[in-house]
């Protein structure tokens, strides 16, 4: 029982990060129909830039407290990623908006690898230890179930950000413009919405969320690395698909569900497979879910079936 509870706690924490990254995928997909393959790598850049800022601040002002340092990391990395998201959209994707379907996706793959390579040039190939500014000393709220302050922070921050995003999308003029653009670019343009601007803003918001997610991932694992965006990115995309791509609430739900499945699955896979498979196979859950959802229920958990009338 403790194991299960423990796996649920872990799953919720990982899942909340997936949700946060999934929002970026789902918003862009909702508006452009593009799988922004490079989104996970924006998250990676966010983590590494934050690391750089924190190390710099530690050296300059050794007396700063841990929270201030995290704050500095975020204050530097969020705008950097926002700029990065904007630049990528403006230079690589915008010109392909009317190109054949596969072209933007191939470009996105190229951008993903380009970002990884640039990170490799700047930060090298090694693993960087990320200062664990928020305590990772486990607490035991229930006998046998451990949870760390950094995990709690991650959960709370993710929940807060998602609530804020829902508010923006549903209650503000900007949100309305975004929804209109997602519905139909041309019509939105006719109604006076500057579709280009809205698309750019979508990339910027998604990138900001990715930057925060990057800092949280790095804080949780205590490591930052130029490939750290790939797998979480792919899993976040899976979460977006699972929830119903294009659907913001779905991305949140999908992230949590995927986190739970993965974590519980990893805990029990050995028992289920009679010892044949072990937790090294954790990553295949995401891929299998991805394939299964796309094949059997492409609209995801929350998506509605849209009649494809010619």
């Amino acid at each position: 029982m403790e194991t299960l509870l423990q796996q649920i706690v872990n799953g919720l924490v990982v899942g909340s990060v997936y949700s946060l990254v999934a929002l970026g995928y789902t918003m862009v997909y909702g508006i452009l129909g593009l799988i922004n393959f490079a989104h996970g790598d924006v998250m990676m850049i966010g983590a590494l830039v934050a690391l750089q800022a924190i190390l710099f601040a530690q050296k300059m002002w050794p007396s700063l407290g841990p929270l201030a340092l995290v704050g500095i990391g975020l204050v530097v990395s969020i705008p950097t990623c926002m700029l990065l998201g904007y630049v990528v959209e403006r230079t690589a994707y915008r010109r392909l908006r009317n190109a054949p379907r596969l072209a933007p996706l191939i470009t996105a793959i190229g951008v993903s690898f380009l970002l990884q390579t640039l990170a490799m040039i700047i930060w090298g190939r090694g693993y960087h230890s990320f200062p664990q500014l928020i305590s990772t000393v486990p607490m035991q709220p229930i006998e046998g179930v451990f949870v760390t302050p950094v995990q709690i922070t991650t959960l709370l921050v993710s929940a807060g950000l998602m609530a804020a995003l829902l508010l923006v999308v549903n209650k503000t003029p900007l949100g309305r413009a975004m929804r209109a653009t997602a519905e139909n670019h041309r019509v939105a343009s006719l109604m006076g919405v500057d579709a280009n601007k809205i698309i750019a803003i979508t990339f910027i918001i998604g990138s900001a969320l990715a930057a925060i997610a990057g800092v949280m991932v790095a804080s949780n694992y205590g490591i930052a690395h130029y490939t750290m965006g790939f797998l979480p990115g792919l899993k976040a995309f899976t979460a977006a698909v699972l929830g119903g791509i294009g659907n913001i609430g779905g991305a949140m739900l999908g992230g949590i569900v995927l986190g739970l499945v993965e974590s519980i699955g990893a805990g029990y896979i050995e028992t289920w497979s009679f010892g044949f498979l072990n937790s090294s196979y954790q990553d295949i859950f995401a891929f299998i879910i991805l394939g299964a959802v796309l094949i059997f229920r492409p609209t995801g958990l929350l998506g509605e079936r849209v009649a494809d009338r010619a």
């Binding site: 596969l102 040039i121 394939g291």
Partner: protein
């Protein structure tokens, strides 16, 4: 051959016959030229031919049928591991070349069928991401299937694969002609691989100019219209997918035999992306372009490795961009820049799906010539 000849600037368009001879002579003498620069370059050349095969196979899927497969390298892995299982000390099996290579091709084709059957009805971008997932799953299994039963030997991979032995002739041995003249085995590998490439090209060309090739182009251009003229879209896609996989399997087997060992590391997503970059760079759907793309993108990183690094040393006193970084940079930029500037590839050309000359093979009935 004509496709390649057409690629040569000026000569290709003005003197196609001469251009064809240039291609033939180059194909035959390439290893000699490479040998002149050193044995490393002969190795690079041999590997380049393997990449040509991979690119040809992926082109069948992406370029002809318009199905973006990001897990293509998994079929290469199936071919290579088949060779490792059936022809190495790992399981103590040493089956002959002409069983192992077809077996690798068959397993790869089977893997293509098994993956393709459920996923091929997915739309383009979804298909891409699911095949990527498949590639990763295959890699995870390669990495972990050493426990509880050792099948793949995990991350260490499998060593001492049997070389290619054709009618008792081990082509991995240098041939000692006289005491001070020996022919390096890399020559033999080159010609063996070249034979496979030529065979592949002939096969693919024949497929292209056939009802299947036209059906692939049809579903690529317009899925709905293809259905409306009675093409069984699912079967035709499945055929392209598993034929492409077959090429991957053959190339994988040759790779295993050539390199002598296999490990999961050789079959990462990066390799799939590299092959994709070759196809995109040369020109999707265009055989000559794909071959040239694969050759350029195989050689360029090696050239840079040999020249850019010493150059940086000389200019900056240190190496800023190491060869691995340069390689990644080239592939990433190839994808982005080609899509932005020349989406039809380096050598855009109209692909032929018919032979209009057949109209003259027999006189067309004379009635009603308007």
């Amino acid at each position: 051959m004509n496709e390649l000849a057409a690629v040569i600037p000026w000569l290709g368009t003005h003197k196609p016959r001469a251009a064809r001879w240039v291609v033939i002579v180059l194909m035959i003498t390439a290893p000699l030229i490479a040998a002149f620069f050193g044995r490393t370059w002969m190795r690079v050349l041999d590997f380049a031919l393997l990449y040509v095969m991979l690119a040809l196979g992926l082109n069948l899927v992406v370029g002809f049928a318009g199905l973006l497969d990001l897990g293509y390298i998994a079929f290469y892995a199936v071919g290579a591991y088949t060779w490792a299982f059936l022809a190495s000390p790992h399981f103590g099996l040493h089956l002959p070349f002409w069983i192992v290579l077809p077996a690798g091709a068959a397993f790869a084709a089977l893997a293509g069928l098994i993956l393709g059957t459920p996923v091929l009805r997915l739309r383009g971008d979804y298909l891409a991401i699911v095949t990527l997932g498949f590639g990763e799953i295959v890699r995870i299994f390669m990495n972990n299937l050493n426990y509880p039963v050792n099948i793949t030997n995990g991350p260490q991979g499998i060593n001492a694969l049997d070389p290619i032995i054709i009618f008792g002739w081990d082509i991995s041995r240098n041939w000692q002609v006289t005491d001070n003249l020996s022919v390096n085995s890399l020559f033999f590998y080159y010609y063996a691989f070249l034979a496979c490439v030529i065979g592949s090209v002939i096969f693919i060309q024949r497929m292209q100019v056939s009802r299947m090739g036209r059906a692939w182009a049809a579903i690529r251009d317009d899925d709905l219209a293809a259905k409306a003229i009675g093409i069984n879209v699912r079967n035709v896609k499945l055929l392209a997918f598993s034929l492409g996989a077959t090429f991957g399997g053959v190339a994988g087997g040759l790779f295993g035999a050539f390199q002598g060992f296999v490990s999961p590391e050789s079959f990462s997503l990066m390799e799939s992306i590299m092959v994709l970059a070759m196809v995109v760079f040369g020109g999707m759907g265009n055989l000559g372009g794909v071959i040239v793309g694969a050759l350029i993108l195989s050689f360029l990183p090696e050239v840079l490795r040999h020249h850019a690094v010493p150059l940086q040393q000389a200019v900056f006193g240190t190496v800023i961009l190491d060869p691995e970084v340069l390689r990644l940079l080239i592939y990433a930029l190839a994808l982005i820049l080609m899509m932005a500037l020349r989406p039809a590839g380096l050598i855009p050309a109209h692909s032929r799906y018919s032979r209009p000359e057949l109209l003259k093979a027999e006189p067309v009935p004379a009635e009603g010539r308007a």
